[in-house]
Homo-oligomer: 477 residues x 2
C-alpha cells in the first residue's frame, strides 16, 4: 500500500496543531475504534482490514511535498510543520485478529499514543476497517443465504472506485466467497480468480452457436457457456447442448452454463431439466443478476436449480447498507503518568462510549467450545477460569448470568508496541480459515440473517462503576 | 494514478485469449458505456471520472510480474502471454466532457479498438465512471436541497476504502460542494480543505471551557466551536459565548459553531437566538449528523437556522443508492472494413442496447440557451441548424416534436485517437465551473430531486431503423 499519511481529515491537523500549542504534545491519549450497529440489522460483523492498518501505520510519513502543500494553506506555522516533518508513530496499537466476529460497542482497535499521533490516524483506520468489515459481513450474509453453495464475487465494475474493488474482493473472500473476478485482487491476495465470457463475446460472432463453439475450442476443459444473450430457452441452452455434445465426442466434459437475466427460478429449473435429459447431469448452473442475500434466500425457497451464485453490485457496495458507522472515540488520557478516563455524553444513551483502557474477554463453554458472551473489562482485569463468573446486563442490571466450566480468550492483542509492528500480516487464506472457525464458534442463532438473537456483551463491574461515576459526577461542563 | 492494468475482470482475459485463438485479434469492436437508470429516481447524472480514465488508459501496461502471475494460473499459453507483454492501447475513445449532465441510455464513453483492447478496458472504465458519476450526482442533489447554502464533504472515514474517499471528494466538489475534509483530495485536486476540531478535542481538556479557550487561542481568526460534546444548550453554547466574548475583547470575531447530534431543527433555532441576543449575529451555524438531501429538505422546510451543512456518510457512499449501474455494451464490429451493428436482446425492452457507431446531439433553444432534448444519432449524421428538426419518441413514435431557431452541440468528442490522448486533463475548478453552467442550461423541472420531468432522449430515424431491422430480422441465434 502506498503512503496514506495525507489521507486524513483536515481537522486532525488543526487539532494536532492545537495540541502542540496547548502543551499537550506529550500527553498520551487512548482511543477505541468500535461501531454501534450491525449492518442490515444482522447479529455480528466480521472484522477485516487489520493487514492494511499495519501497512498504513508502517508507511506513515509526511513527505516534503506534503509539508509544502500544508504550508500553502496559511493555517500552520513553522513549529508545526517541523513537527510534521519529523513525525513518527511510536505509540501502541492493540487490535483483534483479522476475521474475528465482533459485536456493537466492542473495541476492535485500541490506540494509545501521544495526542497528536493518536489523533492523526483516526480517519484512515476508520476508512479501512469500516469498509472491509462491512463487505466481509455482507459476504458472510450472502454465503449464509446460499446454504453451502459456492458464491463468487463479481462486483469490480460497480465498486466504489478501484480500492473498493480490490479490498472488497479480499473482504468478500474472507467473508465466505470462493473467489473473485478481480484479477488484481487475485494477484495481490493470492485468492482464486474466476470468469469465462460476457455477452459481448457472444455478440461478436455471427451466431451464438459460432460463439459457443469458439469458446469451447479455446477452453475445452473449462467450458462454461453464457445462455442469455438472445433467448435463453429457445436459443441459448439449445446451442449449448449442441456444443456440449460436440465436446463430449472429442473426449471433454463441459463444466457449466450461466444465466445473467430473466426469471432465475423458472429458467434454472427448465435448464436443469434440459441438461439432465441430454445427459449433462454434472453441468453446473451459475446465476447472476443483482443478487443479494434476500433474492438468494427467495430463490432457494422456490427450489431454483442454481449451483453457483455470482454476486456483484449488491455485495461489493453492500448496496442496502452502504456504510458501517465505525467511530473512534477518546476513552482516556494519561497525564503525568495518571490514567484519566474520558466519556462523551449524549442524549441518546446508546451513543455514550465506554471509558477507560479496556480489553474484551470472550467466554466459551468448555463442553461445546461455543462462545457464550463477551465481557468488556479494564485492561488490568484478570478472569480466573477456575471460579464461577457472574456477569450482568449494563442497563437491566438485575439480569445476571453465571458461568462455570468455561474458558476465556482475550480479544485485543498487540499490533504495534512503541511504534514497531509486533504482529505478522496474515495470508488471506489463513484469515479465511480463521473466520470459518469463528463462525463455527457461534451458535446459528447469532448468525442467522433475519432476527438474530442478540449476543450478550456486558461490562465488568469495575468498568460499569467507572462509567456510572463519570456520568453521575461530571464536572467537565 | 498507478498502473491499473490488472484491475480487470478475469473474463476479460479469457475472452481476449479466446479472440486471439479465434482469429479476431485485429477485428475492431465498438463499445458504448452508458447507464439505464438515474440514481435516486432523479432526472439526470453529472458525469465524472474522465480525467482518471485518461490516466488509466495512458498507464496501461502489463508488467513482467503480472505476466508471471497470469502464467501461474495455468490458463494461458505463451502466445497470449507474449501478446500481453507487448500490449499497447492504440484505439480510439470518445467521451463527453467531465461534468456534463447526462441521461439514461446515452453513450458517455465510446471505445473503438481492436477486440482484445476494447474488451480489456471495460471493467476499469466502468469502475471509475460509475462511482464518480454517482457521487457527483448525489452531491448535486444534496446541494440542491440546501438551496444555496454551503455544503461541505466530510465522509472520508465512511468512504468505501481510500480511493472512494479521494475520488468521492473530487466528485462531491464537482457536484456542488464548497470543499472537503479530505486533506489528500485537497492536495491532489487543489480543492478547499475544511475542518476545525472533534469531540475528542473537547474531551481531552479538563473542561469544555478550557477546550474552547485553547482552540480560540490557537485559531483566533478562525474560531469555530463544536457545541455538543456534553450538553449543547446547557453547556456548549454558554461556554462558546463566554469564549466568543473573550475573543472579541481581544479584537477577533468568531466565525461559527457546529452541532453534530440531537434535534438539529430545535437546537439550531435556540442557538441562533442565543447567538443573536449575545451580539453574534454573524456567527454561522454548521450542522452535521447523517444528513442527506431528504433530511436537509426537511430541516429547511422547518426553518432550521443552519447556514452550512456538513455531509458525510450519506454522500460519500450515496448511501440510499450505492451504485450507478453503468454498463459497457458491444454496439458494432468492423470486419474487413465493414461496420456491422450489434445488439443484445432481452425480454425487457429497456435492456436492449442501441446498435451502431453513435454520437449525441444536444438541442438548445436559441432564445434562452436551454437544452430542449437530446438526439442519439449515427456518428456520420449531421444536423442542419437552419432547417426545422423533427424528432420522435422511440417507443410511442407518434409523439413528435419539431424545433426551429435552435442550435446543437455534439456531446461525444475525441479523448484518444490511435492510442494518443488528444484532450488535456482539466482542473477540478474548471470542471466545477462547467458543471455549474451545465446545470444552468437545464430548466429546474429536469433537475429537481423529487419527480423530475423526464428529459427527452430520442433516436434519429436512421438509428431507429437500424435498431428495428436488427430486432425484426435476427439471424443471430
Amino acid at each position: 500500500m502506498v503512503n496514506l499519511t495525507m489521507l486524513t481529515d483536515f481537522y486532525q491537523l488543526t487539532m494536532m496543531n492545537g495540541y502542540l500549542k496547548s502543551d499537550k504534545k506529550d500527553e498520551i491519549m487512548i482511543f477505541d475504534m468500535f461501531y454501534r450497529k450491525n449492518p442490515n440489522d444482522g447479529g455480528y460483523t466480521i472484522v477485516c482490514g487489520i493487514n492494511e492498518v499495519i501497512d498504513y501505520i508502517e508507511n506513515l510519513k509526511f513527505e516534503e511535498e506534503d509539508i509544502q502543500y500544508l504550508k500553502s494553506l496559511n493555517t500552520f506555522d513553522e513549529e508545526f510543520l517541523k513537527y510534521l516533518r519529523d513525525f513518527k508513530f511510536d505509540g501502541e496499537i492493540y487490535a483483534v485478529e483479522e476475521g474475528t466476529i465482533m459485536f456493537p460497542n466492542e473495541p476492535i482497535i485500541r490506540v494509545k499514543a501521544k495526542a497528536m499521533q493518536a489523533q492523526l490516524v483516526e480517519t484512515t483506520i476508520l476508512c479501512i476497517i469500516n469498509f472491509q468489515t462491512l463487505i466481509a459481513t455482507k459476504a458472510s450474509r450472502i454465503c449464509y443465504s446460499a446454504m453451502g453453495d459456492s458464491v463468487m464475487e463479481f462486483g469490480l465494475r460497480r465498486a466504489q472506485a478501484p480500492d473498493a474493488g480490490l479490498y472488497g474482493a479480499k473482504a468478500a473472500v474472507i467473508g465466505g466467497c470462493i473467489g473473485t473476478s478481480n484479477v488484481l485482487a487475485g494477484q495481490k491476495f493470492d485468492i482464486p480468480v474466476l470468469g469465462t465470457h460476457a455477452h459481448s463475446w457472444i455478440q461478436s460472432f455471427d451466431t451464438e452457436l459460432d460463439a459457443f463453439r469458439a469458446y469451447a475450442k479455446a477452453y475445452p476443459t473449462k467450458t462454461v457457456l453464457l445462455l442469455d444473450t438472445y433467448d435463453t430457452l429457445n436459443s441459448g441452452i439449445r446451442n449449448a447442448i449442441t456444443v456440449f455434445n460436440e465436446l463430449r465426442e472429442q473426449g471433454y466434459e463441459p463444466l457449466g452454463v450461466r444465466i445473467d437475466s430473466g426469471d432465475l427460478e423458472f429458467l434454472s429449473k427448465e435448464i436443469r431439466k434440459i441438461l439432465d435429459s441430454a445427459g449433462f447431469e454434472n453441468v453446473k448452473i451459475t446465476a447472476s443478476n443483482d443478487l443479494d442475500e434476500n433474492t438468494i434466500t427467495s430463490l432457494k425457497n422456490q427450489g431454483a436449480q442454481i449451483d453457483i451464485w455470482g454476486v456483484g453490485t449488491k455485495m461489493i457496495t453492500s448496496f442496502d447498507w452502504a456504510a458501517l458507522g465505525g467511530v473512534y472515540k477518546l476513552c482516556a488520557v494519561v497525564r503525568d503518568g495518571k490514567m484519566i478516563p474520558k466519556i462523551k455524553i449524549s442524549e441518546d444513551p446508546n451513543k455514550i462510549n465506554n471509558p477507560g483502557y479496556k480489553n474484551i474477554y470472550r467466554i466459551y463453554d468448555k463442553n461445546d467450545n461455543k462462545a457464550k458472551a463477551d465481557l468488556i473489562v479494564l485492561d488490568e482485569e484478570v478472569i480466573n477460569e477456575n471460579e464461577p463468573l457472574t456477569i450482568f446486563d449494563p442497563i437491566h442490571t438485575w439480569k445476571k448470568m453465571t458461568f462455570e466450566n468455561f474458558y476465556v480468550k482475550k480479544l485485543l492483542s498487540p499490533l504495534f508496541i512503541d511504534g514497531k509492528c509486533v504482529r505478522e500480516k496474515r495470508d488471506i487464506k489463513d484469515i479465511k480459515r480463521y473466520t470459518d472457525e469463528e463462525k463455527e464458534s457461534f451458535w446459528i442463532q447469532y448468525r442467522r440473517n433475519k432476527n438474530p438473537q442478540i449476543y450478550k456483551v456486558d461490562l465488568s463491574k469495575k468498568l460499569w462503576n467507572m462509567k456510572n461515576d463519570l456520568l453521575e459526577n461530571r464536572n467537565i461542563l
